[in-house]
């Protein structure tokens, strides 16, 4: 980072020379060393999380697919299908001597299970992970509590390392582990009753997570008043639920939707709103500052809520928050509590990179670099309130909740 000095050209050359050698592996730096590369998502330079989102909510064009394939060119086997080819790769896992056969079987099943849940557009990724982990408990053949816990831990680790870019997946797994294993229920003398208790708890947690969206929608109604104009960015299922509930409550409001390049999730969102007869207007992403003066409230979803109280969300959130902050508009974030992650980014680059192919419509010369990051980090000072299923919180409370949860 000496580039800001005048000698940046020299520095940069040196820097490049230094990094040239390990470049083929550089994408793998973020993967955790112990599990080697076995359960890794084969397309590790593309964020699976954002790919799923795109598949669910985006308006996909043909070049998008073409470019996606080009971007992952080094993997010959990819064909757009996400989970199916995973069967071969994660087997190597285990390394744990004795129960290798069983361990690999589990790893296989948990990711598979997860992927099958993930296919449902209405289901958040974290909830899919929670369901998958609950399935692990159910199908487990462990005979002691310790064994079961280890198995669960392994499953959640493999899930987490399968997609390191997804914050809500990681957070969902962590929350599940805490919720399920930190309980006095484990002190049953009888293993089977303890296990059934665990399963019960797991189901309950899954239900709570599903209900979270409803709770948030109810809580946020007080903040939508008649005649207000709401700016939304990206496709957030929680925000959609909030607006849907508001429309059902016969509130009169207007929505401005950003386009949400590159997967153009805003188009999809405006479609959904138009179905509800809510007046909606589409903006290109660069028109945010232009229209901000007519906006009353800015509403975001979140891919992850981090310890500082800030959020990680689709690219463009930060700049909208900045514009809103400078024009003194309130910025509200709707997020379920299972998206709270033990993570403290200090700046934009302080996260494991989540990349996503971008379609520019025209071929880009190879000398031109493209910023492909799929998400950005919005610091807490630009957020007004967070609507969560724990209540309406200020950003600073997030950390308090997390401390209480994890300590």
């Amino acid at each position: 980072m000496w580039w800001r000095s005048a000698s940046f050209i020299l520095d940069r050359q040196q820097h490049q020379n230094r990094t040239v050698a390990p470049s083929p592996e550089s994408f793998l730096l973020s993967s955790p060393p112990p599990m080697a590369d076995s359960p890794l998502n084969p397309k590790s330079n593309i964020s699976a999380y954002y790919q799923t989102r795109a598949a669910h909510h985006a308006v996909v064009t043909s070049d998008w697919l073409a470019q996606a394939q080009a971007a992952v060119g080094r993997h010959s086997d990819d064909d757009g299908s996400l989970g199916d080819d995973k069967g071969a790769t994660p087997i190597g896992g285990g390394g744990g001597g004795g129960g290798e056969e069983e361990g690999s079987g589990k790893a296989f099943s948990v990711i598979d299970e997860f992927n099958s849940w993930r296919k449902q557009p209405a289901l958040a990724e974290a909830v899919a992970a929670i369901r998958a982990l609950a399935a692990v408990i159910r199908t487990s053949e462990a005979t002691t509590m310790m064994e079961l816990e280890i198995e669960l831990k392994k499953a959640s680790d493999s899930l987490k390392s399968w997609d390191t870019t997804s914050i809500s997946l990681t957070a969902g797994c962590d929350h599940f582990m805490l919720y399920v294993t930190r309980t006095s229920a484990l002190e049953y003398e009888d293993f089977n009753s303890a296990k059934s208790r665990l399963i019960e708890r797991a189901e309950k947690f899954g239900e709570i997570s599903c209900k979270a969206r409803r709770i948030i929608a109810m809580l946020s109604q007080d903040f939508i008043f008649d005649g207000c104009t709401i700016l939304v960015h990206g496709f957030s299922r929680v925000v959609l639920e909030v607006l849907k509930t508001a429309a059902e409550n016969k509130k009169h409001f207007r929505v401005l939707c950003t386009e949400g390049r590159p997967d153009r999730t805003g188009l999809r969102f405006s479609n959904e709103l138009a179905k509800l007869d809510v007046p909606v207007k589409l903006l290109i992403d660069s028109a945010v500052a232009y229209t901000m003066d007519e906006v009353d409230v800015v509403h975001f979803g979140a891919d992850g809520v981090v310890e500082s109280g800030g959020i990680i969300n689709m690219m463009g959130t930060f700049q909208i928050a900045l514009v809103a902050h400078s024009m003194n508009k309130p910025v509200y974030v709707a997020a379920e509590s299972y998206e709270f992650a033990r993570h403290y980014p200090l700046d934009q680059k302080d996260m494991s990179p989540a990349r996503r192919p971008i379609d520019f419509g025209v071929p880009i010369p190879s000398k031109v670099e493209v910023e492909t990051s799929a998400r950005d980090y919005t610091p807490p000072q630009y957020l007004t309130l967070l609507f969560t299923d724990l209540g309406v919180l200020t950003p600073s409370v997030i950390s308090d909740e997390l401390i209480q949860l994890y300590l």
């Binding site: 980072m1 500082s308 200090l346 600073s396 401390i403 300590l407």
Partner: protein, 641 residues
């Protein structure tokens, strides 16, 4: 014995330190200017010399307060009402403000119980002021000078003693009510009022003293330290002619007394008696920081060494640690805390309960004695305060059934556990957290020498991360050089610069790592002086600031500035550069010139939480807003373990 004159008898306060921009009217006052030929010895020097190290001159002139006070508090003496006309020009909103300054009614109980010494100080001061007030001083802008409207102005030099007699005469004669009564009547009324007031005050004292918010009105007033004045008071005595002593003493009660403000030890009297070190004289201490205990430098070492056999109740280990504090051999929050705890541990090992005493009580008081000895040597840091609290709560929680040897081993192992868990292991956890924030190609900046930051840098280096370190340093401690040396030995690439250059280097920096002496529950970081400016510059350049601090240093206090609580360093350390004759410009000042020089060597400052991106503790990385959560949880925990 002119009543009006006496009421003005207030020390003149020198204007130093922080000025508010809206008190420029005081500039014309020839405070330190040469032309006022005989006024310096008369008004200046007595005022500044007479203050004992711990006294703060009353924040506002008596008659300044009058406007507010006459409304709020019963007027203690008729002579004051004579001045009302001078007050009449005040605008009411300001007089409301003045209510905030200490009213006369808080003149303390201690004042009553005080010995003659402090009153001597008062006499002398009032005398000099009287003298000054009789000096003709024309062209003095009364109205502007009397409208200071901020705390800084409160501390500022007060012009009133110079008010001319003529003005006063005019003022009193213009008061119609005043003219009606005879002198005898006034005296009688005055006496009765005084009696009533004394009675009510005695009541108030019995019912308890108000808790002391430092530097504000309801200050609890410990008795004044009586070390300064003896010499000065003899001068005062010679100056005093025909002043009725008893009346004077009584009047003194009506003046706001100087404040003693050793923030922590409110039991000043006892502390004084127990004090084993000579207090350095109060000469040339900056006004705003006179409430802080003066620096005790290592020159007292031989003195303390000679007193070793008198202090037989101090354990040698504690004594040794105290000497190390005094000499400055031990510095750094953790090192000091560990040394103290280990000394206590040894003292506990050698302890045996005296007959007819219980271990719990006797040991607690013993530890209290050790602590006050250590405070004598150097003020405690917050972390040490927390550790002492832990130890005392452990002692208090010892089961009564435990035998003495068992109790002692329990305590020793508790101390070991505290050191191990709260300091050593905590540091390891912090290392691991902080290292995740160091990336290849980073440029890390650190200020001064913090042992945690040093460990982080070395740990990250061991992990094979490629980064550069910028060590920023400042006079007079130059601790950064120590750190720099240790880093260079390990093969890190470093840049060394002084604090002056901070804004130049900052734009190349990607992370700022700072240590802290303590963190308060509003997120304020209390750390080596200079830290605040580093954090501020980093914030302005949008560089993330990471403060690394063990959770045992968190404190539930709230602090907004670095004035009310701080530590003073050796003032000579900043005026002299050892070994550099060519830059010691302050060496050959005459005594008279030195009288106008005040040196301020602060040890700590408070960094507002806005400038801090993250606090790295043993509980993980938290934003500064979450400190209270840790403080709450932590308190519970260390009382229970």
């Amino acid at each position: 014995m002119d009543a009006r004159r006496m009421s003005r008898a207030v020390p003149r306060v020198r204007q130093v330190g922080f000025f508010t921009p809206n008190t420029p009217a005081q500039q014309p006052q020839p405070q330190s200017a040469a032309p006022s030929s005989e006024s310096p010895p008369l008004s200046d020097s007595p005022a500044s010399n007479s203050l004992s190290p711990v006294m703060i001159p009353p924040p506002r002139h008596l008659s300044d307060n009058l406007g507010g006070r006459t409304a709020a508090v019963p007027v203690p003496g008729r002579e004051n009402s004579g001045e009302l006309p001078t007050v009449g020009s005040y605008n009411p909103s300001e007089s409301v403000l003045w209510l905030d300054s200490p009213p006369r009614s808080r003149i303390g109980d201690e004042e009553l119980s005080e010995g003659a010494e402090s009153s001597l100080g008062w006499y002398r001061r009032s005398d000099s002021a009287k003298f000054a007030s009789s000096l003709p001083s024309g062209g003095f802008n009364l109205s502007t000078a009397k409208h200071p409207d901020s705390v800084a102005a409160v501390e500022a030099k007060n012009p009133l003693p110079e008010q001319s007699e003529a003005q006063k005469e005019q003022a009193s004669s213009s008061k119609p009510l005043k003219a009606k009564t005879t002198k005898a009547e006034r005296r009688a009324l005055q006496e009765s009022q005084r009696a009533a007031k004394a009675a009510s005050r005695a009541e108030a004292n019995k019912s308890g003293t108000p808790g002391g918010a430092p530097s504000s009105k309801p200050m609890k007033q410990p008795p004044q330290k009586k070390d300064g004045p003896p010499v000065a008071s003899s001068i005062a005595a010679s100056e005093r002619i025909g002043v009725d002593r008893s009346v004077e003493k009584e009047r003194k009660k009506d003046l706001p007394p100087p404040r003693k403000q050793f923030d922590d030890e409110s039991r000043g009297g006892r502390a004084k008696r127990r004090s084993v070190l000579n207090q350095p004289e109060a000469r040339n201490r900056v006004e705003l920081f006179r409430h802080l205990p003066p620096h005790k430098n290592g020159t007292q070492l031989p003195y303390l060494g000679s007193k070793f056999f008198e202090l037989h109740e101090k354990h040698p280990a504690v004594y040794k640690v105290g000497l190390q504090y005094l000499a400055g051999d031990l510095s750094g929050g953790n090192a000091r805390c560990i040394a103290m705890l280990q000394a206590f541990q040894e003292a506990i090992r050698d302890y045996s309960t005296p007959p007819e005493k219980t271990l719990t009580r006797d040991l607690t008081s013993k530890i209290g004695g050790f602590v006050s000895f250590l405070i004598e040597c150097r003020p405690l840091s917050m972390s040490m305060g927390n550790a002492i609290r832990f130890l005392k709560s452990r002692i208090a929680r010892l089961p009564l059934t435990l035998s003495e040897s068992e109790a002692k081993t329990t305590l020793c192992s508790d101390i070991d556990r505290f050191i191990n868990e709260k300091i050593v292991l905590a540091d390891k956890v912090i290392l691991r957290h902080a290292a995740t924030k160091i990336r290849d190609g980073d440029v890390l900046l650190t200020y001064g020498s913090s042992c945690v930051v040093e460990m982080i840098l070395l740990y990250a280096h061991e992990l094979g991360k490629q980064f550069r370190v910028v060590v920023v340093d400042s006079h007079p401690m130059l601790e950064g050089q120590k750190l720099l040396r240790r880093l260079l030995v390990k093969g890190l690439s470093c840049t060394y610069t002084q604090l002056n250059a901070i804004s130049y280097v900052m734009h190349k920096v990607t992370r700022v790592f700072l240590g802290a002496s303590s963190i308060f529950s509003n997120g304020t970081v209390y750390s080596t002086v200079g830290t605040a400016s580093v954090a501020m510059v980093a914030h302005a350049f949008r560089v993330p600031v990471l403060v690394c601090c063990e959770a045992y240093k968190f404190h539930e206090r709230v602090q907004l500035d670095s004035i009310c609580f701080n530590e003073l360093g050796d003032p000579d350390a900043i005026s002299k550069v050892p070994g550099r004759v060519d830059v010691n410009y302050l060496d050959n000042l005459t005594d008279k010139q030195k009288e106008n020089l005040e040196l301020l060597n602060l040890k700590y400052d408070a960094t507002p939480s806005d400038y801090i991106s993250v606090i790295v503790t043993d509980y993980g990385m938290i934003p500064p807003t979450s400190v209270p959560v840790i403080v709450r949880g932590y308190r519970k925990e260390y009382l229970l373990i």
